[in-house]
């Protein structure tokens, strides 16, 4: 081999190696014209947009509405047939187990909410800007809300904070004891209330009242009545809210209309719009409130209401529970046959009975009304907001807290109770002790039915077994963890007690 060839080869080798080195650098390719999760959070508006993404999952509250009512003595599942959303029929019959699509949705939607808030928290230190605290205060509220849903339904759930976990890690997560999850919820809500004002110029944003109101509810669900009383008092005393009097059932039902969104009783509403259509295949994608159309009257043609899918039908038991003079009975429960009979032309009005069950009653608080139709698609996308926290609820929670706290203040409790009753022209009560407790619980049913809270109220007050047919004590207080989620998480979690 000749000398110059050796030199040539040497150069070829050197060139080749340096080319190679340069080429390895060329493997750092960022996607073109793509908003990428790894390169986000560069401007304040990035933070705001991520926060909007975290709010999104609030809109899955149609499930709160259904499960909270159908699991209780307030409602049956309804629908076209018993195989129409079978998960709800199983919950109605208290035969639900680890395979249940609706419960899986609750689990996955709320974790999606948690992950979207954690996405914000994991990038907290990337940028400093004015208004950042307010954004994070809202994120604290949202995370607390999602975890509260999870702990309420499923008990011990993995607590993941301030970071995103990999798929790999998800298969070895442990369930965190419910008490620790609650602890974190309280921390988050306190952080939220500290960073927020009582009002926000933008309709739909979380406020201090929302954070404190939810904190009060969280305390109540843990029987922490002393803490609850303090927090709820502060909402009532310092918040910019006032009770609204109603004199007729129509007026009362109107409190849940689009017109009354953000009224003086409104502490926090989950916002919906009827501007965008949707599909049955992706309820999580909706911007409208799905519960409203689903709860509409089956194949109804007539005045006032629109036609719907006859879901979540109130029971006779609920109807009969009311004092007939209470305007809230007809405000809350629509007796469809009575309503039709009252109209000028009852013969022209018709509706159908679904194979999934019929009680003769419809949920009159959240029901498709002709003047509140979603525009592109009125079955799935109602513009009606879901009232997550209303002032009468705060009053009744405060009443219960004062009545049941370590040093009961029944005077204050009774005052709150009677304030709620007076606004719907019900006579004042005069009770104390256990009798007052019972009265407050009853009042909760009158005031809060049809809104998705009944089941949880029965469970947390220990009355579920006596009020709900088929409810098994020591089992049905919690819902089962979806079996597929147990499997996907590595199969190491034990199912909730007494679910097989």
């Amino acid at each position: 081999m000749k000398f110059y060839n050796k030199i040539l080869m040497f150069f070829v080798a050197v060139l080749g190696l340096s080319f190679l080195n340069a080429c390895d650098d060329r493997l750092e390719v960022d996607p073109l014209y793509t908003i990428d999760g790894d390169s986000f959070f560069n401007t304040p508006s990035d933070y705001d947009r991520a926060l909007t993404g975290a709010y999104d999952l609030l809109q899955t509250s149609y499930l709160n509405m259904w499960i909270g009512e159908i699991a209780s003595d307030n409602a049956i599942a309804g629908g076209e047939s018993v195989t129409d959303t079978p998960g709800l029929h199983e919950i109605e019959a208290m035969t639900h187990n680890g395979v249940n699509n609706e419960l899986r949705s609750v689990f996955s939607f709320n974790y999606a909410g948690v992950v979207r808030t954690n996405y914000l928290f994991s990038n907290k230190d990337k940028l400093d800007f004015e208004g950042k605290d307010e954004i994070y205060a809202q994120a604290h509220f949202l995370r607390a809300y999602y975890y509260f849903q999870l702990v309420k339904y499923f008990g011990d759930v993995p607590l993941i904070l301030d970071r995103l976990i990999s798929e790999e890690e998800s298969t070895s997560l442990e369930r965190t004891p419910a008490s620790q999850v609650y602890e974190q919820i309280e921390i988050d809500l306190k952080a939220a209330s500290a960073g927020l004002d009582w009002t926000n110029s933008v309709k739909g944003r979380v406020t201090k009242g929302a954070a404190l109101g939810l904190l009060g509810r969280v305390y109540l669900y843990q029987d922490k009545f002393d803490d609850a009383a303090i927090v709820l008092d502060s909402v009532i005393d310092m918040g910019p809210y006032s009770l609204i009097n109603s004199t007729t059932s129509e007026e009362y039902a109107d409190l849940f209309s689009v017109n009354q969104e953000g009224n003086s009783e409104s502490v926090f509403e989950i916002q919906y719009s009827g501007q965008e259509g949707g599909s049955y295949g992706c309820l999580v994608c909706l911007e409208g409130f799905a519960a409203v159309g689903f709860q509409g009257i089956r194949q109804y043609t007539g005045p006032e209401y629109g036609d719907g899918n006859s879901y979540n039908l109130p029971t006779q038991d609920l109807y009969d529970a009311f004092d007939p003079s209470d305007i809230r009975r007809d405000g809350t429960v629509l007796d469809i046959d009575a309503f039709i009979a009252e109209q000028d032309n009852p013969g022209d009005i018709s509706y159908a009975i679904g194979g999934g069950g019929h009680t003769g009653f419809y949920n009159n608080k959240y029901i498709k009304r002709l003047d509140e139709l979603g525009l592109p698609d009125n079955d799935l996308t109602s513009p009606v907001n879901y009232r997550l926290l209303r002032l009468p609820d705060i009053y009744l929670m405060a009443a219960e807290a004062h009545n049941r706290k370590s040093a009961p203040n029944d005077v204050k409790a009774l005052e709150y109770l009677n304030d709620v009753r007076a606004r719907v022209s019900m006579l004042d009560l005069s009770l104390s002790g256990q009798a007052l407790t019972e009265a407050i619980w009853q009042e909760r049913r009158y005031e809060m039915s049809g809104e998705g809270f009944r089941f949880w109220d029965l469970v947390r007050t220990g009355r579920a077994a006596s009020e709900i047919e088929g409810f098994v004590e020591g089992k049905n207080e919690l819902f089962p963890i979806p079996q597929i989620e147990i499997d996907l998480a590595g199969g190491n979690w034990s199912q909730n007690p007494n679910y097989n």
Binding site: T52, D56, L58, A112, G274, C285
Partner: protein, 1032 residues
């Protein structure tokens, strides 16, 4: 040892420097015809010195006494002659029948069949050209063992799936295709004219690992035709013209049969019978009218030749094919221009130029799915004429099924592809032992697509309507709310897109070859490769095409009704890079013991930094037993045992899948307005890596009785870390809108198989020759692992909105069919009542299903009584290729057979008025009438559940090609100024033998979970053609 080597090297240097060289000249001839062999090479053994024979087969070189001259020429056996001072040597070379010296292209180098240690296969130009198929992959059907070609569509421009040694992933299972060193994707094969191909080499086993992360599904290396040194310019013309026709039509009910059966079905459901008079004759044969005869044609021209320093092959071609459905509404045309040019620009420096320009034009009709033209034709009922009142009939009794002729008329689309593929390669002979190559390959394509969607009315209630009524008034759309919004008319639509794709490849490698002593040969290859693949598209859709006329269908003309509110635009772009280095070392002792080892390192942008770089490689060895002294079996001329094992990878997934994208849906309502935020899209997986395949191959090559070649292989191929996105724990956030599970490496598929290639060539006289190739592949496919927490991965659904019936599941072949097993028909109510097994809803005439779980109840709500009832993967495939010549007459035939696979008959629409296949004439009509076909009813039955009734044996034998040619005698050809003049007639797909009822049993799919699911497949045509080959 070391000293000895040094000494030998020294001796070589000395001898080449100081020995007295003498001039030798001579001629190289064909031993049989005594014709000169221009381009034959003469080399002095052990050196790179040599010469090439000129046009007259003559050569001249200088040699020393004692040198060994090696004469070689492609297709002929090498001959060695010792030089003892002769001044003139005439050498006659024999045709090499055993093919042992045949050059085989392997990655970054060549080898000979004798020296190979891996499992490869080769198809030559003639075998490809004689098939007369539009695409080269179709020419591989049945050509070599281990390569299975299944067809996606028989439509013009339709593609095929190439699977080398089974389907090993639910993702992209196609091989890496390399043409003249340039990477092609399988779609790009449309651009290649099969007549331009010199050879196709298939790397099947782990030795494909020289291509690393792209090689897991095997590698196909295609070389195009080059010129030969020292040959006169040779002008070749060839062409054929043929007529295509459908090979089969479905056996459907005629009008009378239809009326009788429908009356029966309606009556069974207590409905009024639709036909008072069932004597309706034949009625309309929709299929017969939908199919037409269509032309197919191909013309090639090329000039090739070479001088001492330069070779060239320049050509052009035209290919045109119309569809057997829809005529010129479904066509494919291709113009090709090609230059292959190799020249020595400096001594020892060779420049290779390959340039290929292709222009493709195609139109297509909806095919291969629910709503395709053939699907509509099969379900349209015979009692309605094609036209009524001067317009296409509406077929109002069937929803979703529209008049196929109206559909053809309203389909307008044009796709133009302009493509330039090229390579420039420099090869420098550094020394006798070192060669360096540097090359740049590129592939640039621009695709223009336009589709016109006219306002069309197919009849009231048809989902396909784009107009509001028969007068073709536009439909209206409401945008925004009633107060602030507008109502717009949606006029005729035009969609245009322009896409461009650029791939390029920069490679450099160094080859080393040296023989130490006379026994030890060392070869080595080291190099790098850099590949970038990029693409982008801009597209737009506009509504309001003037006059509802295709002549005005252009985005520049749309009226943009309502300020263009309805119009939209879109774009995408992507970029991938692959950076690689590789090293291969080979050693053989006396060409008797051969060893090869290789390693490749790949860096791919498809993966994150945790797993960006991968190492692949293989080890292989071969032992030529027949060269051993103890080997004395006379019948066996050659015997070689091969063993190889190698790791390869597959990185064919969408770009950036490992990253966190922000394309989730994150919308909320603030101030009563929908506000778009951002949300995580696909969950990131920084640990995402390539699929890896470990393959072990054991092979035996034998040559018996001089002309009988046999190659066998047994392989086990295990693919792990399958790339897919199975459901994942909610705790990673997949419950949010638009948030998808991450891609991950999970699952495992094992393919095991046995391959046999038999070649027999026989030439008893100058006038007669005969050769036959038979190949056989046995394959067993099994999914051995699925992702944790997932029982199976669901595939395709049966019928409209039906159950998912194909799966990827542990313990079963990939894409197997799951459903109910039938056990005859319930004959009487008593039989149902007395059966220990209760079957809900069963009535006499219904299928009796098998109780798989033994609970004495057939459950239709869950999977407990469903079982495996078929697999789309054949047990074995075979090919038989025969070639015979007698005097001027030649005969070629290619036959393929596919055995042991099943097909789902999924083109029958379960609607009361849809037409049905004629097997329904055998329906159950009362006790004892049949135990095979169920009763007919329009009411609810469990018979429409997916069962083995809808699964058919997909085995077939198909004569792919027959060709009979005649070569005019040399004397006549020469009078016309030609050196060769051949004419032939041929037929492609003339015969298919199968029990399958559908159009075509060749039902492939690029999606392994849709494989074998027939939705009314556009069948491959059979054709009759005549053609010619002329050389001047």
């Amino acid at each position: 040892m070391k000293h000895k080597l040094l000494l030998m090297m020294l001796a070589l240097v000395v001898s080449s420097s100081f020995a007295q060289a003498q001039s030798v000249s001579g001629t190289v001839k064909d031993a049989e015809t005594s014709e000169p062999l221009p381009g034959a090479s003469i080399q002095i053994k052990g050196t790179s010195r040599g010469a090439t024979a000129d046009l007259n087969g003559e050569f001249k070189l200088s040699a020393n006494s004692g040198d060994v001259l090696v004469f070689s020429f492609i297709g002929y056996a090498d001959k060695e002659i010792s030089y003892n001072g002769q001044t003139n040597i005439t050498v006659s070379l024999d045709l090499d029948i055993s093919q042992l010296s045949e050059v085989v292209v392997v990655g970054y180098g060549t080898s000979t069949k004798k020296e190979l240690t891996g499992a490869t296969a080769k198809v030559n130009a003639q075998e490809i050209e004689e098939r007369n198929v539009p695409r080269v992959d179709q020419a591989l059907q049945g050509a070599v063992a281990g390569v299975n070609i299944s067809t996606n569509s028989g439509a013009p421009g339709g593609s095929a799936n190439i699977n080398i040694r089974g389907i090993s992933t639910n993702g992209d299972s196609g091989p890496l295709v390399i043409v003249d060193g340039i990477i092609y994707d399988s779609e790009g094969l449309n651009a290649l004219n099969p007549a331009d191909i010199e050879s196709v080499n298939v790397l099947k086993d782990g030795t494909a690992g020289i291509y690393g992360v792209r090689a897991a599904n095997g590698v196909i290396i295609i070389e195009t035709k080059k010129g030969k040194k020292n040959t006169k310019p040779r002008l070749s013309l060839s062409g054929y013209y043929g007529v295509q026709r459908t090979a089969k039509t479905l056996d459907l009910l005629n009008a009378t049969e239809y009326a009788v059966l429908k009356n029966e079905a309606f009556a069974a459901n207590n409905q009024t019978v639709p036909f008072n008079n069932t004597n309706l004759g034949e009625g309309t044969d929709w299929q017969d009218k939908v199919f037409n005869d269509a032309p197919i044609q191909n013309y090639n021209i090329s000039v090739s030749g070479g001088t001492e320093k330069t070779t060239y092959n320049i050509g052009g071609s035209y290919f045109g094919q119309e569809g057997i459905v829809g005529g010129d509404k479904a066509l494919f045309e291709r113009y090709n221009a090609r230059v292959n040019f190799v020249t020595e620009i400096l001594p020892k420096l060779k420049l290779t130029n390959v340039l290929l320009y292709t222009n493709e034009y195609s139109k297509s009709l909806p095919q291969g799915s629910i709503g395709s033209v053939l699907y509509n034709a099969a379900n349209a009922y015979p009692t309605e004429p094609i036209k009524t009142d001067g317009r296409f009939s509406y077929l109002l009794n069937v929803s979703d099924v529209i008049n196929p002729f109206a559909q053809i008329e309203n389909t307008y689309n044009d796709s133009y592809v302009n493509k330039l593929v090229g390579k420039q390669e420099l090869e420098y002979e550094i020394s006798d032992h070192f060669t360096a190559n540097a090359r740049v390959g590129y592939n640039y394509a621009v695709v223009d697509y336009k589709e016109f969607g006219p306002l069309a009315w197919y009849g009231a209630g048809k989902a396909q309507n784009t107009a509001a009524n028969a007068d073709l008034d536009p439909t209206t759309v409401q945008i925004g709310d009633e107060v602030g919004g507008v109502t717009l008319e949606r006029g005729a639509r035009v969609t245009e897109s322009k896409s461009s794709y650029l791939d390029y490849l920069v490679e450099g490698f160094l080859n080393y070859k040296k023989t130490f002593g006379s026994n030890h040969t060392v070869k080595s290859t080291a190099g790098f490769s850099f590949n970038e693949v990029s693409g982008s598209q801009v597209s737009g859709t506009g509504y309001g095409v003037p006059n509802n006329d295709v002549a005005f269908a252009d985005l520049s003309l749309v009226t943009g009704i309502g300020n263009g509110y309805l119009n939209n635009t879109n774009s995408f772009q992507y970029l991938d890079r692959l950076n690689s280095i590789f090293l291969r070392g080979e050693y053989d002792y006396e060409k008797k013991y051969l060893f090869s080892g290789l390693i490749r390192r790949d860096g791919s942008t498809k993966f994150g930094s945790n797993n960006r770089f991968g190492y692949f490689g293989s080890l292989s060895a071969a032992w030529v037993i027949s060269d051993e002294d103890f080997f004395d079996i006379e019948a066996i001329d050659f015997a070689k045992l091969r063993v190889s094992q190698g790791w390869t990878g597959n990185d064919q997934i969408q770009p950036y899948a490992y990253r966190a994208s922000l394309n989730g849906e994150g919308q909320y309502v603030f101030d009563d307005v929908i506000v778009s935020g951002v949300a995580l899209g696909r969950v990131p997986n920084p640990n995402l890596a390539w699929e890896s395949t470990l393959q072990t191959n054991i092979g035996l090559d034998l040559t018996l009785f001089k002309n009988f070649d046999l190659a066998t292989n047994y392989f086990i191929k295990t693919t792990t870390g399958l790339l897919f996105a199975p459901p994942q724990s909610a705790t990673v956030g997949t419950g949010g809108a638009g948030t998808e599970p991450s891609f991950k490496n999970a699952g495992e598929v094992v393919n095991k198989g046995f391959e046999l290639d038999l070649d027999y060539a026989f030439k008893p006289s100058k006038d007669f020759s005969f050769s036959v190739n038979y190949n056989f592949t046995y394959l067993q496919n099994e999914v051995t692992k699925v992702p944790g927490g997932v029982d199976f991965v669901p595939g395709t659904g049966f019928s409209v909105g039906g159950n998912v019936v194909t799966r990827l599941e542990q313990g079963f072949p990939i894409g197997y069919f799951i459903g109910y097993e039938t056990d005859g028909i319930w004959q009487t109510a008593e039989e149902i009542a007395s059966s220990p097994i209760s079957q809900p809803g069963a009535q006499p005439g219904d299928f009796k299903y098998v109780d798989q779980n033994g609970d004495n109840e057939i459950s239709f709500g869950d999977n407990s009584d469903r079982t495996m009832i078929g697999s789309p993967i054949p047990d074995f495939t075979m090919g038989l290729n025969v070639n015979a010549n007698y005097k001027g007459i030649d005969l070629t035939a290619n036959v393929t057979a596919v055995v042991g696979n099943e097909i789902i008959r999924n083109y029958e629409r379960q609607q009361p008025y849809a037409n049905q296949l004629a097997y329904n004439l055998n329906r159950w009509t009362g006790p004892g009438s049949t135990n095979e076909y169920p009763r007919l009813t329009t009411g609810l039955t469990t018979n429409t559940n997916f069962s083995d009734f809808y699964v058919e044996d997909g085995s077939y034998v198909r004569v792919r090609n027959i060709q009979i040619g005649y070569n005019f005698p040399q004397s006549i050809a020469e009078k016309m100024g030609m050196t060769k003049f051949r004419v032939y007639i041929g037929s492609v797909n003339p015969f298919t033998f199968t029990r399958y009822m559908g159009y075509d049993p060749d039902v492939g799919s690029s999606d392994p979970l849709s494989n074998g699911v027939d939705l009314g497949r556009y069948p491959q045509a059979k054709s009759l053609m005549g053609g010619f080959n002329i050389q001047f």
